[in-house]
């Protein structure tokens, strides 16, 4: 089956929803694709019209999805983009079904994932990403009475701590690797962002009863068959905390596989875009975390710029540029405040697995000179996640760059692909 739209948007998080909404409001035939069960991406995951007002950012979700539903935009849930069989065509897959969609303009809003770094015990059940744990809770996992430790880096730790605490979890501690001195600079940056300041304060207040320690990071997780305790350090002393779950993530990295497959030029791991969010590939725009980790408001503004631009409303799009510049500055400050300390490169021991799909230990990777060599010699990055987890880890650990993206972008059964041969 094949379909054709003036504008196709990939990813129904805030950036994608904003892009699809403004393009559809301007009269374009728009299709919004998403590989989740429901719209919202990560920050709005699990939100529904009737409950969203109870959550931070919920009103924005209600406002944008209401606007979207008033348009004729088609929303396709559960579909993932896996290939580009021809210029201007995306190949999609859903549970064994293949569909091609033709686009006049494509807007990619695939968001970000957490960066995971290997440490002893990180493959134990019960060790999750901080955002991963939040996503599971938003998807129905009951955290009532569970003892949770959060560790790693980034403002997400506080957001997750607040969310878990309000859902009944016992947050035993939040451990941020960045030093307070750097975060103080970040706090100053927050002053220039009234909405973000309110958001930060709310997180702080709610998480108040949980210890929040800076300059502290994970050493290992232990337990029989699943995580039972974590050991942490501040570089001088170490201590242990008992827990049922450990949420551990080190900032965010963009889901850049699809733009890379399309040939979009990247700089320092992000897609390079012009002032109208246009990438180096004609008719392909990228928005939100793909162009720099900046969160909800940046994604909404960039989504609108790309959506308006795709609809030929350049003048309106250009009016949003000052707002975008402010939010991009915030993104840069975020990056600096939470930059990763070099000690984190030494968390993995020789027998610690770095690639969880192919079970490749750190010792096998040490002698490799590049990502490519590691793949060929050890199968690191060759498994089901296609390097999404170990690729961003080895980038930090060894400085390897992973520039390639090959179809299918997500694992797809050969029998499914064969239906298109």
């Amino acid at each position: 089956m094949s379909a054709s739209f003036e504008v196709v948007v990939v990813g129904a998080g805030p950036g994608g929803i904003a892009a699809a909404t403004v393009a559809a409001e301007a009269g374009c035939r728009v299709c919004l694709l998403d590989d989740n069960v429901a719209m919202g991406g990560q920050i709005w995951r699990g939100f529904r019209a009737e409950n969203a007002h109870k959550y931070p950012h919920g009103n924005g979700f209600i406002a944008w999805t209401t606007r979207l539903q008033q348009t004729k935009c088609e929303v396709w849930q559960g579909w993932q983009a896996i290939d580009q069989p021809a210029s201007g065509v995306l190949r999609l897959e859903r549970a064994g079904e293949i569909r091609d969609v033709e686009y006049g303009n494509l807007i990619v809003a695939t968001g970000a994932r957490e960066r995971f770094l290997p440490f002893p015990g990180w493959t134990l059940p019960g060790v999750m990403g901080a955002g991963g744990l939040q996503a599971l809770v938003k998807s129905g996992l009951d955290p009532q009475g569970k003892r949770v430790v959060l560790a790693g880096s980034g403002p997400l730790l506080l957001a997750v701590g607040a969310g878990l605490a309000s859902a009944g979890a016992v947050v035993a501690g939040i451990y941020e690797q960045a030093p307070l001195s750097k975060l103080a600079g970040f706090a100053l940056a927050l002053l220039a962002q009234p909405a973000k300041l309110a958001e930060g304060a709310r997180y702080r207040l709610k998480a108040m009863h949980a210890p929040y320690r800076t300059s502290s990071w994970i050493v290992q997780a232990g337990g029989r068959g699943r995580v039972e305790r974590v050991t942490l350090t501040d570089g001088r002393k170490t201590w242990s905390v008992d827990c049922d779950w450990l949420g551990c993530g080190f900032n965010l990295v963009p889901n850049i596989e699809l733009p890379r497959l399309l040939g979009c030029r990247t700089v320092a791991g992000y897609v390079e875009v012009d002032r109208l969010q246009q990438s180096s590939v004609s008719r392909v725009a990228c928005v939100g975390e793909l162009t720099g980790i900046g969160g909800l408001e940046k994604a909404l503004v960039e989504g609108q710029i790309a959506g308006l631009s795709a609809a030929g409303r350049e003048t309106e799009a250009l009016r949003l540029l000052p707002q975008r510049r402010r939010l991009q500055n915030f993104a840069h400050r975020l990056d600096r405040a939470f930059s990763l300390r070099p000690e984190l490169r030494n968390l993995a021991r020789t027998d610690t697995l770095v690639c969880r799909c192919e079970d490749v230990p750190h010792s096998e990777l040490r002698g490799c000179a590049s990502w490519r060599q590691a793949k060929l010699h050890t199968r690191c990055g060759m498994g089901a996640c296609q390097g999404r987890v170990c690729g961003s880890a080895t980038e930090f650990l060894f400085g390897w760059e992973n520039q390639n993206s090959r179809p299918p972008v997500f694992p797809t059964a050969v029998s499914t692909l064969a239906t298109k041969l």
Binding site: R45, A95, T123, G129, Q134, L136, S139, G140, E358, D359
Partner: protein, 80 residues
């Protein structure tokens, strides 16, 4: 959330609320999702469809990413 309904995880019957992901249900059932190539039990990591640690057999279809699928009444999930 709609009313709770039963599903089975490795034959174990559990009740879940409407809107619960299969990954959340498997975690609730205290079962690992899969065993790694060297035999380690694994459970969800990313919660958002990228790490593939949560894959399991859902209603007879193997290698489904359980964090991306909502439970439905009578669903049969097999892990390992």
């Amino acid at each position: 959330m709609t009313d709770a309904f039963p599903i089975t995880v490795n034959g174990k019957r559990i009740r879940v609320n409407g809107g619960t992901s299969v990954a959340a249900a498997v975690t609730k059932a205290n079962e690992p999702c899969r065993f790694s190539v060297s035999g380690e039990p694994r459970a969800p990591l990313c919660g958002m469809g990228i790490c593939m640690e949560c894959r399991a057999t859902v209603n007879g279809v193997p290698h489904r990413r359980t964090c991306q699928i909502a439970c439905s009444a009578g669903m049969e999930v097999l892990t390992g």
